[in-house]
């Protein structure tokens, strides 16, 4: 909990897998002035359903308003606030660090041993470290690597899933229209 009563809320939205949907969600966050920490989108096991994980640093009451607004979007099928239930969350980072002397190479190796991290590329000038972990652990690793010299960094943003037998899924089957299903055009709506 931060001082002003805000905390990280991890919202998961199941959305119809259509090109305009990300645009609608982004537009909603912008026009309602909701600040996004991270937003990720990806497919699910169903072609027609995508899943977004959106982390917002807000008061719990505001998270409810955000969820209600998300649900109002026609293409958003369901929204859940993972922070209101036990859940697993992961962030993936690729971190390129300077390794142009022995000291830094050894330093990197030692640090990585204490994290769920791997060195996935190493040379005489730089190395790339991969970590998949909870966001705070990823952040801790980044902070430890900083003094050695981070030269490039990329993160996927958080993805999350509720623990246990409660499943976030939809039975919905989309209508399909002739050969229209995929003509390569950016389409909003059905």
């Amino acid at each position: 909990m931060a001082d002003n009563g805000t905390s990280k809320n991890t919202l998961v939205a199941l959305v119809e897998n259509k090109p305009g949907v990300l645009n609608r969600v982004a537009s909603l966050f912008r026009r309602r002035n909701f600040n996004v920490d991270s937003l990720t989108v990806g497919r699910t096991h169903k072609d027609h359903v995508s899943r977004m994980t959106i982390v917002v640093d807000v008061k719990r009451a505001d998270a409810r308003i955000i969820a209600a607004n998300l649900k109002k979007l026609i293409n958003v099928i369901d929204v859940q606030n993972m922070s209101e239930q036990p859940h697993i969350s992961r962030d993936l980072a690729l971190i390129k660090v300077r390794t142009d002397d022995v000291e830094s190479r050894n330093g990197v190796t030692l640090i990585c041993e204490r994290y769920p991290a791997r060195i996935v590329d190493i040379g005489t000038k730089v190395a790339i470290i991969e970590i998949t972990a909870q966001e705070d652990i990823v952040e801790a690793l980044i902070n430890e690597l900083r003094p050695i010299g981070i030269v490039e960094l990329v993160r996927t943003g958080v993805v999350a899933m509720g623990r246990g037998i409660r499943i976030l899924d939809t039975d919905y089957e989309p209508l399909r229209f002739g050969e229209a299903a995929n003509n390569g055009l950016e389409r909003y709506g059905v």
């Binding site: 209600a68 649900k71 939809t170 209508l175 229209a180 389409r187």
Partner: protein
């Protein structure tokens, strides 16, 4: 049967019950206009003079009838001209379907002639929108669009249709089946727990007030709210768009709330111990300073849009539901009550309010906007559909034209769109041809869409235009007088001779400069079949009282001094 995309649009419009559309042609929508020609005896196309007018006409039609209003425009500039009307409809939850032509699919994304990313542009101002991807999905898309526009919390929906889809053809089978919208769930019954919690608060309240909003009208719950008010003896305050949700001559109706609401109503809200908010959204214009808003009141909020509950005002009982359904769940369990002391207290405030009513002042031979509206009310028997523009005349209409029936006062509340009134009145008249329709507009706003005079004349639609001409952007002038030390920057206006202007459009007109001509002006308006324009030359520096300055506490109103405190109002 094989139909073109354009013909499919017609067939779908007919199946949605559409008999009139408001629009303007252009390249990317021309195939559809060709189909209008073919269907001209079944769908009447009103040619506007600016697409903004079409969007407001569709809006006015929808507000007056509760049905979906339809406007149509070409790609690019035609479509962008609709944006103000869509934003207006969005803010006030009005069911509108806008159809726009788009460049052919193959040209999309190439900056083709008159190409605009209309679905991109209109995301924030529509409830939903579509770029149709193939002729196969066209009919279904139109059906879905109408469903979304009119159900739940209504709103505008835009369908962008590439030109090559309008000209393509396919075997037409109307999609009768279910509408499959997994993410669009309409509320059913409220939970017993919530209903009981609300009833408990109502039973315990000593100083309750109902806040009646537009939602009651859209839900068709005016009888239910009246029963609630009567049985539990609760005074009813109206939002601007809630006018007509409760008959204004009903003893329990205490008038409009908010920035230019009745002082008594605002005092009652601030002193109440229970607010029952029905189909309203605690807009800043009705709450004033949120920190000091109704500080002693528990709050019940019933709304069809769950994202409105706890948005601006924290509530004790929030019920997500359709008002008619929810109120019908409540009424059988509602106990009779009476609040004589509370009502007496409100009456005292009201008496003080009437003492300060400008109509009770000696204002000499000035013609005041308040008098014009009051007399229009009198001579139309309070039964007209009035459609206002935005400004002082709008607030005066709200204060001096009480309405007894729902959907008879149409106005742009949420967006406050100048230029709305006149075209929306045309749309309203198409929807309610049997009603007497008056557009009540200011000299400023009227000039934003006055090109529709030609539309009104061409269609010979019987709309009476009352221009309250104060030669000022009056409402802005009022703010400048109060808050900017009377520096009247960009508010005095040179105006055309409105009567000559009407004459140029072959529209009968009359100028009124004295109060005793108002009765005659109404007769004059009624004497003619088509549109009529009446210019009321009113006092230039009238003030709309009371006024809650923006962001001030709701009960810190600027009030009109009493007659014994000043020489004249």
């Amino acid at each position: 049967m094989k139909l073109t995309g354009a013909e499919i649009i017609m067939e779908c419009l007919l199946r949605e019950g559409v008999r009139v559309v408001f629009g303007y042609p252009g390249g990317a929508i021309l195939p559809t206009y060709d189909a209008f020609y073919q269907y001209r005896d079944r769908i009447h196309h009103v040619l506007v003079r600016h697409e903004q007018g079409a969007s407001h006409m569709a809006d006015g039609f929808a507000r007056a009838t509760g049905q979906v209003g339809v406007c149509i425009a070409t790609s690019g500039p035609g479509a962008t001209n609709l944006v103000t009307g869509l934003a207006t409809a969005m803010m006030d939850s009005v069911p509108v379907v806008a159809i726009t032509g788009q460049v052919p699919r193959a040209a999309i994304g190439t900056d083709a002639f008159q190409e605009t990313d209309v679905t991109g542009v209109t995301i924030p101002v529509t409830k939903h929108n579509y770029l149709v991807g193939s002729i196969e999905e066209l009919a279904y898309t139109i059906r879905e669009a109408f469903h979304i526009a009119r159900s739940g919390r209504p709103g505008p929906v835009l369908i962008d249709i590439p030109k090559d889809i309008q000209t393509a053809s396919t075997e037409f089978v109307y999609p009768e089946g279910e509408i499959r919208l997994p993410g669009y769930v309409l509320p059913k019954q409220a939970s017993d727990v919530d209903i009981k919690a609300a009833l408990k608060l109502i039973a315990e309240a000593k100083r309750p007030v109902i806040l009646a909003g537009h939602g009651l009208i859209m839900s068709g719950a005016v009888n239910e709210v009246r029963e609630l008010a009567e049985r539990a003896n609760i005074p009813v305050a109206l939002t601007l768009l809630g006018k007509g949700a409760m008959p204004e001559n009903h003893p329990l109706t205490i008038g409009m709330m908010g920035m230019h609401g009745a002082a008594a109503t605002n005092y009652a809200i601030q002193e109440s111990d229970l607010l029952i908010a029905l189909g309203m959204r605690f807009d800043d214009r009705v709450t004033g300073n949120l920190k000091t808003y109704a500080p002693h009141a528990k709050k019940i909020h019933v709304d069809i849009d769950p994202s409105e509950i706890n948005k601006n005002v924290k509530v004790d009982v929030g019920i997500h539901g359709d008002l008619k359904t929810v109120l019908r769940q409540m009424l059988p369990l509602l106990e009779s009550k009476s609040h004589p002391e509370w009502m007496a207290r409100i009456r005292d405030w009201q008496e003080d309010g009437s003492e300060r009513d400008i109509l009770n002042y000696d204002t000499g031979d000035k013609l005041l906007g308040a008098q014009v509206i009051n007399d229009l009310w009198k001579y139309t028997g309070g039964e007209a559909i009035t459609v206002t523009d935005v400004g002082q005349h709008q607030m005066l209409e709200a204060q001096y034209y009480p309405h007894q029936r729902p959907a008879t006062m149409l106005t742009s509340g949420g967006l406050g769109t100048m230029g709305f009134g006149f075209p929306a009145a045309i749309g309203a008249k198409f929807g309610k041809p049997e009603e007497e329709v008056w557009a009540i507009v200011g000299d400023g706003g009227f000039q934003m869409t006055l090109c529709e005079l030609a539309t009104a004349r061409q269609e010979n639609v019987k709309v009476n235009i009352a221009i309250l001409n104060n030669s000022y952007l009056g409402m802005v002038r009022q703010w400048q007088e109060f808050f900017y030390d009377e520096r009247y920057q960009s508010t005095p206006m040179f105006n055309p001779d409105f009567c000559k202007l009407a004459e140029a459009y072959d529209i009968p007109a009359m100028r009124v400069t004295r109060r005793d001509q108002i009765a005659e002006s109404v007769e004059f308006a009624r004497r003619h079949d088509g549109p009529v324009l009446i210019e009321y030359v009113i006092e230039k520096e009238e003030i709309v009282y009371p006024m809650v300055p923006a962001g001030a506490d709701l009960d810190k109103m600027i009030r009109r001094p009493k007659p014994n405190e000043v020489k004249h109002g």
